[in-house]
Symmetry: C2
């Protein structure tokens, strides 16, 4: 049976994020999955996601890294708690800090792959390291500190 | 006479950036200006730029900080060189690294203000510090290392 994406487990009221909400019809709707002990997200930039002609806009790269990392943080927190992602109460993560190193220009016309691994889970905080590749070439690295969102934000 | 935005000086072939290109009809088209020795950019998020209902998507905040900072880096480099922004050859900056600290949730329904100051200009590298406020309340801080783009990228 194919794996369900992390984002497909988000409750409806948490599923409108521009980057990863399945219910945001204008958004990127990224999907993240486990692959061994890493997480992976594939994304095809749209023609208008450019920085300079032929290359991907850095803000999109930051957005992919951000949302893939908060999704990965949630997945890791459920795993750490020995819970499945469809169990209640829902755990959702917000970004406390985002760091991206742009190593080289990212070509626009190929599928991008973001891979992440969990560096640390500590209480409500998860640190996620990621890399973004285009055609197998590493073009950016990310580090996200994600914090479990307080429940009142969703009520 | 009203000041022209930094981005309005970008040559046409550098004016398609999703974040700041005046010719990208799908993009954010941000505008940045000098205000004393700071630079400022105002932006009204669209209704779909949400993270969770009522709050701005972190990827948008990263994008605003990114593009406002590279624009500010260019403006600072022209100033440092004693040149006006419409002089040739054009100088355009790319992001080497982007760091954003999200201090608190940013409300969606107000005009956002990004303010930046130049920390350092060193050869082709400019470091830009920024803050993002909503209704006068600081919600995020950014640091961008911008590097002058090699000319071949635009030919």
């Amino acid at each position: 049976m194919p794996q369900k994406a992390f984002q497909d487990y988000y409750p409806d009221n948490m599923a409108y994020c521009y980057g990863c909400g399945r219910l945001n019809e204008f958004g990127l709707q990224i999907k993240s999955f486990w692959e061994g002990d890493e997480t992976v997200c594939l994304f095809q930039p749209r023609s208008y996601h450019i920085a300079i002609p032929g290359y991907v806009y850095g803000g999109l790269i930051a957005s992919l890294i951000d949302c893939h990392s908060t999704g990965s943080a949630a997945a890791a927190a459920y795993l750490e708690a020995g819970r499945t992602m469809d169990s209640e109460p829902a755990m959702r993560f917000l970004t406390a800090s985002l760091h991206v190193d742009y190593l080289k220009p990212t070509p626009l016309d190929v599928l991008l792959e973001v891979r992440a691994r969990i560096k640390e889970v500590k209480g409500r905080k998860v640190i996620v390291l990621s890399s973004l590749s285009a055609n197998g070439i590493l073009t950016a690295r990310g580090e996200v500190v994600a914090v479990q969102a307080p429940e009142h934000l969703f009520q």
